[in-house]
């Protein structure tokens, strides 16, 4: 039966309804501000998600590999001249991760890790007739690797199913070698080890470098070609929270004593750009937010002056100063709420319009509409709070109105 703040809300609503032009003006102002915030936020988030997704579409979140080999410093022995003044860095040969089966098993039981795929990779050549191309062999377990990079979703022809006699290659390489499905190519690895394979599938990952060089084989023939029997060079890992990659990589590196590189490290430049972009949008948003708050505060301050006499009468009739204060705080909240809902919907409408007529970096939708509901709810809560906070000073003035002078002077 008893609704909290019923009386105060009733007064707030009636006051807003009576001052219609003023109320509409302030709601329009809030809506405009929120629309800008939502539009910028949705667009930037959409673009960033898209960029990150595309970046991660062709690389592992974390890549584990054998630690670099290094030259041990010669320790000067007392009484002897230092033997070597110059240190030559050691050339890195292809090496397997030691004890990789145990590491891979352990990784699979780590909670944040979604997928683990051992990979053996190294340089080789592909030859067909006169054509001779430098390639990178990737020996993988296709089912496991598909969880790292979704190659099966990016097939132009055939299937992603390398076997002992079949390989899967990129479309650029296929064009350069002039091969199609079921054609044969010769792959030459380390120390003259070579084999002839049939093309089982042709993929297109959208990154020219990869489409030109990647050749997928099963683990065993790749190990043979690279002269690493039973060994693997990397363990690729997919995790659930992509931005935790760097921290997790550091932890894994410490845990196994091997090198772990996260996508955040290899794509540091992209991340920096994204971060700078986020910071500048946040700055724009806070400026818009502050001006919206000032708008609400100033319109309500005017309304307090206009309603001075009515406030005096309400006080004479037993309304407490706290009740009067609540009336104006509620007005701020209502204005923020209505304005933000209108603004958020308008902002999302602008995003839709923009994605349908504006420049499109990809074929996919720029912005996930599901995120829109959350955005509206978030913006509404934030704007309602902003409205209440902005209303604080006008509301305090209203609460301090002296009924005697207010009634006398009108």
């Amino acid at each position: 039966m008893r609704v909290p703040l019923w009386y105060e809300s009733r007064l707030a609503v009636e006051f807003l309804r009576e001052g219609r032009a003023q109320s509409l003006l302030i709601i329009f102002g809030v809506a405009l501000g929120v629309a800008v915030i939502v539009f910028v936020l949705a667009l930037i988030t959409g673009l960033q998600d898209n960029l990150v997704e595309r970046t991660l579409g062709t690389q592992a979140h974390i890549k584990l590999r054998a630690p670099d080999e290094f030259v041990r410093e010669l320790r000067p022995v007392e009484g002897l001249a230092v033997a070597a003044q110059r240190r030559n860095e050691r050339a890195q040969r292809l090496r397997s991760i030691q004890n990789w089966q145990a590491i891979a098993e352990d990784l699979e039981t780590t909670p944040q890790i979604v997928a683990v795929s051992p990979v053996v990779t190294g340089p080789a050549f592909a030859r067909r007739g006169e054509a001779f191309k430098a390639i990178a062999i990737l020996g993988v377990d296709p089912a496991r690797y598909a969880q790292i990079v979704p190659v099966p979703d990016n097939m132009r022809a055939g299937v992603f199913r390398p076997t002992a006699t079949e390989v899967v290659i990129g479309d650029v390489l296929a064009d350069e070698l002039g091969v199609g499905l079921s054609d044969r190519i010769r792959i030459e690895g380390t120390d003259g080890r070579a084999g002839s394979f049939q093309v089982a599938g042709i993929f297109n990952l959208g990154v020219r470098d990869l489409d030109e060089r990647f050749v997928f084989l099963p683990l065993r023939p790749a190990q043979t070609l690279l002269d690493l029997p039973g060994g693997i060079t990397n363990i690729d890992v997919t995790i659930d929270e992509i931005f935790a990659a760097e921290a997790l990589a550091r932890e894994l590196s410490g845990r196994y004593g091997i090198t772990a590189e996260s996508w955040m490290q290899t794509s540091a430049q992209l991340l920096n750009a994204l971060r700078a972009q986020s910071e500048s949008t946040q700055l724009i948003q806070s400026f818009v937010g502050v001006s919206v708050a000032f708008g609400i505060a100033s319109v309500l301050a005017v309304s307090v002056v206009q309603r001075r006499r009515e406030i005096g009468i309400l006080r004479a009739m037993g309304t407490t100063s706290n009740q009067v204060m609540a009336v104006f705080l509620i007005q701020g909240g209502i204005v923020g709420l209505i304005g933000s809902i209108i603004g958020a919907v308008a902002g999302l409408g602008m995003v839709q319009l923009f994605t349908s007529i504006g420049p499109r970096p990809t074929e996919e939708a720029l912005f996930d509409i599901n995120a829109g509901v959350g955005l509206i709810v978030g913006a509404s809560i934030l704007a309602t709070l902003t409205g209440i906070i902005a209303a604080y000073f006008p509301a305090r003035r209203a609460a301090l109105v002296d009924p005697v002078t207010a009634i006398r002077d009108g």
């Binding site: 008893r2 703040l5 009386y7 009515e310 309400l314 006080r315 004479a316 407490t320 005697v404």
Partner: protein, 247 residues
């Protein structure tokens, strides 16, 4: 119903008691002036009292102090048996809402609300909710003053006399022991003024509320049971009125 509401109230000897009430403005400054010089006054339940005096005699100041809108510099004010000096602001507001009714010279209705809602406002403030009994009583009151067909009108759709009648209903919605009326007819023509006055008189008799009516109109003052006169902040006269139907 109205009687039930009255049960919680201790029957007091006076609905209003003033003792040595002084009011000074600009205290501690060279221009300090005292506008009320120690007023003593008792108003019995159901009394119908006129307060007269020239402009600047302190009538409005005294009325504001009685109405708990202002605080005296010295002295004590009891409303319905309750000392008010030490009461915090919120408690004073509550007491005002429960025990006092106000009728102003310029009707002072809230333009955003209908006549019916305006009459209910003091109860809404006190109860914090809508109440069917309050609404029924407001409707009754409006009907009693001849405004049964105007309950949904906004103040600006009513004449001056009608607005003042709504304001009188608003002051009486909770049947307060004391109603304060500041020049209630000052803004009305003679005929409407007489109507409004007889309305106050009628509610005084029907509900037993005491009234303090500030007025400049000598005829009106003489129509009251008791007349007090304020001059230069002193209570100079306190006598019976010449109410025609007294006794």
């Amino acid at each position: 119903m109205a009687e039930q509401a009255g049960l919680s109230r201790q029957p007091a000897e006076s609905v209003l008691r003033l003792r040595a009430v002084r009011k000074r403005y600009g205290e501690g400054t060279p221009v300090e002036t005292e506008v009320l010089h120690g007023i003593d006054l008792d108003v019995a339940p159901g009394e119908f009292l006129a307060m007269v005096g020239p402009s600047g005699s302190g009538k409005s100041t005294l009325l504001n102090i009685i109405g708990l809108l202002d605080r005296p510099s010295d002295g004590e004010v009891w409303i319905d048996g309750r000392a008010t000096r030490e009461l915090p602001d919120t408690e004073r507001s509550r007491l005002r809402g429960e025990s006092l009714g106000f009728v102003f010279q310029f009707h002072h209705l809230l333009s955003a609300f209908s006549a019916l809602d305006n009459v209910q406002l003091p109860r809404w403030a006190a109860m914090g909710r809508r109440d069917a009994d309050v609404q029924a009583r407001a409707q009754e009151l409006l009907a009693a003053v001849g405004l049964a067909d105007y309950t949904q009108r906004r103040p600006k759709e009513l004449s001056g006399g009608q607005q003042q009648r709504v304001a009188i209903c608003r002051a009486l919605i909770h049947r307060p022991p004391l109603v304060l009326a500041d020049e209630p007819t000052g803004n009305l023509d003679t005929e409407t003024s007489a109507q409004a006055f007889s309305l106050l008189r009628r509610f005084n008799r029907e509900f037993g509320c005491a009234f303090i009516i500030v007025t400049h109109d000598p005829d009106l003052a003489e129509g009251c049971d008791r007349v007090i006169e304020l001059i230069d902040g002193h209570l100079v006269t306190d006598r019976a009125g010449h109410a025609p139907d007294q006794g």
